[in-house]
Symmetry: C2
Subunit: 229 residues, 2 copies
C-alpha cells in the first residue's frame, strides 16, 4: 500500500515548490512514514483522485484521502499516535494555527511579490496562462505589477521575522528543543522562496537563517534534495 | 499562607496596568489559586522582597519567589499539575514563546507610543521623574516625542493583529476552545492599553475586540475590575 502525496510543480517535476506541500513532506518525514510524492502542474490538479480537491496538497493514505496541509497534519497525528508528535499536545495544535496565520498574513504576500515572476517562468505554457489569470483575479493586478514591488519587500523581509528571531533566542526550534509542525509551517514559506526565487533575503548570521539551515538538514536533508533557485 | 503577586501601579493602587503583571493575574485565576495583589510604584520595586528582582511581576508562593511572567506561568503549571493547564502540553509551552515574541515585537511599541503620556500622568512625582529618564534611555527620545507618534499607530494597529484575527477564524481563543497562557499574553498587551490610554483602537465588530471582551469576562470578570481609562 503506497502512501501518496500529491503536490505542485512546474515543467520540472523534480522541483516541487508549494509551501503547503513542503509542510506535508516534512510532516510525513517527521512521522517516519514512507511516501511517494507525485507533483502535478496547476491545470492538472482537477485530475487528481477524480477531482477530490481544487488545491494540493492531497494525501492518499490507504483508503483515506485528506486535503489541506493543516488537516493532513492533524490526521497524521491522530492516525499515528505512536510516531513522533507534530503538535506536542492540544495546546501546540491550537497555537500552530497562530503560526500558520502569522506565516499567511505576514510572510506569504512578500514572498509572492519576490517570487511571482520566477514561479511563472517555471511553469509550462498552459499553466502560465492559468497562473496569470488566477493571480490577476486574486491580486487585482498583472503579475509584472506584483513583481515590481518585490525589491522593496527584500529590504523589509528580515524585519517581518522579528517575532521568530526573538523566539529563537529561547530555543532552537519554534517547537522547542526539536521541531514540530509549527516549524514546518514557517519552513514551507521560506522553502517556497528558496526553490523559486532563491535564498530568503536574510544575513548568513541571522538566527532565522540558521534555523532555516537546521530545518533543511532535518530528515536526511529532505529539503536540500531540491537546490536553491 | 498567603500567595502574593507583586505588581505595578501609579498613584492609584487600584489601577494596576503592567501587561506582564496582568498575564500573571489571569494565570493565577486560571489555575484557581487565591492570591493577594500588591501593586508597587516603579521606584519602590527595589524594596520588594529585599530586592529580589528589578522588575515585576514577582510571585511569592509560600517559600518560593519567582520572577518574570513566563517563568511564573511555567512554575505554576509545574507546581500545580492537577489544576487547569496554562500551556496544554510541551508544544503549547514552546509556541507560547512565539506568541510572547509576537506581542513584544509587534504590539508593545505601538501601545507604548499610544499610552506613554497617559502612563506618565498616572504616576506620582518621583515615579514620573524615573519614568521620563528610563524611557529616554531606553527609547532614545523624550516621552513627548514618543507620544507624538501615537496617532499614526492608532491608524495601523488593527492591521498588526491580522495573524490573531485569522486564528480566531478557526477557534474562539488562541489556546483553542478555551484560553491558555498564550491568550493571557496577548490580553496583557491590550489590557495595558485599556487601563492607561483607553480601549484598543479596534472596531466593535472586529473579532479581536470580541475575543478581548471574552477575555475580560473570564474568571468572574477579573479584567473588568479595573475600568477602561
Amino acid at each position: 500500500m503506497t502512501r501518496v502525496l500529491y503536490s505542485l510543480c512546474g515543467r520540472d517535476e523534480n522541483r516541487p515548490f508549494s509551501p503547503h506541500c513542503w509542510k506535508v513532506s516534512m510532516a510525513l518525514a517527521h512521522k517516519g512514514l514512507d511516501f511517494v510524492e507525485r507533483p502535478y502542474p496547476f491545470t492538472a490538479i482537477p485530475e487528481i483522485e477524480e477531482g477530490f480537491s481544487k488545491t494540493v496538497p492531497i494525501l492518499r493514505d490507504g483508503d483515506r484521502l485528506v486535503r489541506d496541509s493543516f488537516e493532513i497534519a492533524v490526521y497524521l497525528d491522530e492516525a499515528y499516535p505512536d510516531r513522533p508528535t507534530l503538535f506536542g499536545g492540544e495546546g501546540g495544535k491550537a497555537l500552530s494555527r497562530f503560526v500558520e496565520s502569522f506565516s499567511q498574513m505576514v510572510l506569504h504576500m512578500p514572498v509572492t511579490k519576490m517570487a511571482i515572476m520566477h514561479i511563472h517562468d517555471m511553469l509550462d505554457t498552459p499553466d502560465q496562462q492559468y497562473f496569470r489569470a488566477s493571480r490577476l483575479d486574486r491580486l487585482g493586478k498583472e503579475i509584472e505589477a506584483v513583481a515590481a514591488e518585490g525589491d522593496a519587500e527584500r529590504e523589509t523581509f528580515a524585519a517581518r521575522l522579528e517575532p521568530v528571531r526573538r523566539t529563537l533566542h529561547f530555543q532552537p526550534f519554534l517547537g522547542g528543543d526539536s521541531p514540530l509542525f509549527a516549524d514546518y509551517i514557517l519552513f514551507g514559506a521560506l522553502q517556497w522562496m528558496r526553490v523559486t526565487a532563491g535564498p530568503p533575503p536574510l544575513a548568513a548570521d541571522d538566527s532565522v537563517m540558521q534555523w532555516f539551515a537546521r530545518c533543511l538538514d532535518l530528515h536526511d536533508g529532505l529539503g536540500r534534495r531540491v537546490t536553491a533557485a
